[in-house]
Amino acid sequence: MLGKHFRPLDFYSGGPENAYKLLPFHFIRLQGTRYVVTNMVGEYIVIGQEDLYEFSNHRLSPTSDLYNELKSKHFLIDSDSEVPVDLLTLKLRTKLLPQSNFTSLHLFVVTLRCDYSCPYCQVSRQTEDKESFDMSERTAFAALDITFRSPAPAIKIEFQGGEPLLNFELIRKIVIEAKRRNECEQRDLEFVIATNLSLLSGEIISFCLEHDVYLSTSLDGPKALHDKNRPKPGRNGHLLTVQGIKLAQKLMGKDSVSALMTTTEQSLSQYKEIINEYVSLGFTSIFLRPLSPYGFAITTRQSEKYNTDQWLTFFKKGLDYIIEINKQGYFLKETYTVIILRKMLTPFSAGYVDLQSPAGAGIAAVVYNYDGDVYASDESRMLAEMGDKKFRLGNVIDDSYEAIFGSDTLLDILEETTLESVPICSECAFKPYCGADPNYHYATQKDIVGNKATSGFCRKNMEIFRHLITLLEDNSEARRILFSWLT
């Protein structure tokens, strides 16, 4: 009976009958002689250079801890079982499944008008009086036709601008009409308004409560920083935003409103103040976002005020500070870190459009502009406002669903941004965590694939991946806190 519980003696002899075979994996230097090896679904192990060569040359002892770890994470297969192949298949299919659901995020740009004048505005907003930049009801309902043609079982409709509350009446009509249609469609329907909250009123809050509409806002930090980044006539932008946040939290619930920040040159030295501002308002997450190279951020040269390395320093210090806050008992997550950790540590997709392969443009998210033009992403819309309509897919009035989503424009993007066929990316160990950002590379290199050796997107993500893995491996307290963000 004991023979059932112990392997035969010759298993430990390391003879040819116990030789293992390699399963597909990639590796990359972490730091010094430490490497990260990743399998096809992104499960990783940190390994020394010598061990990497021993493993790759089939000289690793089957009695070693490393052997067992590599086996448990499907880096090798031996005579014990053929199951690793099935398990890798299952895990990879699980990760890719959301892509088969197709477009789930539909952005409605209900107006380009705005009551702010942010120098880094990515959408090149228009002044409040220009109603010719409002979406019409006809256009909105045509966009709804396209929205419900998507096979996605869960659909999120996000209202963007400008300042979308300047066209609240249209938002109201779209929500009511979408819910009416959904009585037949039976999708899991969700609504979000991306707003600066300056126009938030009791009427709007009542509507949001009645129809389960969430709010998303921008909060760049404490008053001086926020008002400098996001100037408003009256210089009371921060005051109105904070008032709106508190009002929404009080009447709609703490989770009804979320906020994110954009890093400007002035933000770089104020990571603590920014994070403290979020804590003071009771937020449990903060998204440390770099400035994107679109719209007014280009024309005002805001995007040139700092480089990738400076932002990475800001991010790492900010993350360290957030971890310290968690140690002191306040639960606060960094959103981008959670997205990446979900890719690293779970078999599930993170559902983040900018970190997908092929690019999430069109197939994860689509934008219906105020004039009915359809864009592959919000960044595509921003490029269009600068005069470049390269990523325009069609128009909701003039084009059918098939014409829009079967367009050469979209198919070319998807074909060229599949990382398995992109130079440097195809062999990168961080590929399972990364994605393609065709808009960023087109904006910065005039090529939707881009040369990754000179790509700020690549540099940023590689450095974050390395930093997180180092924290997970070398800092047990940080590891515990990072894991808690995934539950």
């Binding site: 075979k21 390699l22 399963l23 597909p24 994996f25 990639h26 590796f27 230097r29 096809m40 990497l52 060569y53 790759s56 297969i77 192949v85 099935d86 890798l88 298949t89 299952l90 990879l92 299919r93 890719l96 130079p423 440097i424 062999e427 040369n451 050796a453 000179t454």
Partner: protein, 117 residues
Amino acid sequence: MGNNMPHSKSSYTTENGNYYLKFQIGVFSLDTLKRAALKFTSYCSFDFHIGNESIDVTLCFGPTTSEEICEKTIGDYKSEALDQDLRSRIAAETEGYRNLILANVFSKTSIVNTGHD
């Protein structure tokens, strides 16, 4: 970047801001060296020449690049060449399993055997 006279360190020679490396044919393939070079195109440009016994790689740095950066880049490039060589071997060895897994992932078949098939 110092004087323009050619001088030699143990693994390369340099002249006029260009650095010349030799890789023995049979140890590294041209494809390996080119793949390794891709990652350093932000630092310098590359020229390749296949000789009788070696592949000659020229790294062309800009006039303002410090010697420290040049030497670090050379070291990193040589390390990357070793890594690329290993990647090629691993890719070749695991190609069959990779294709099998991908074929199963994208097939319209059940992965889990329910016993009712």
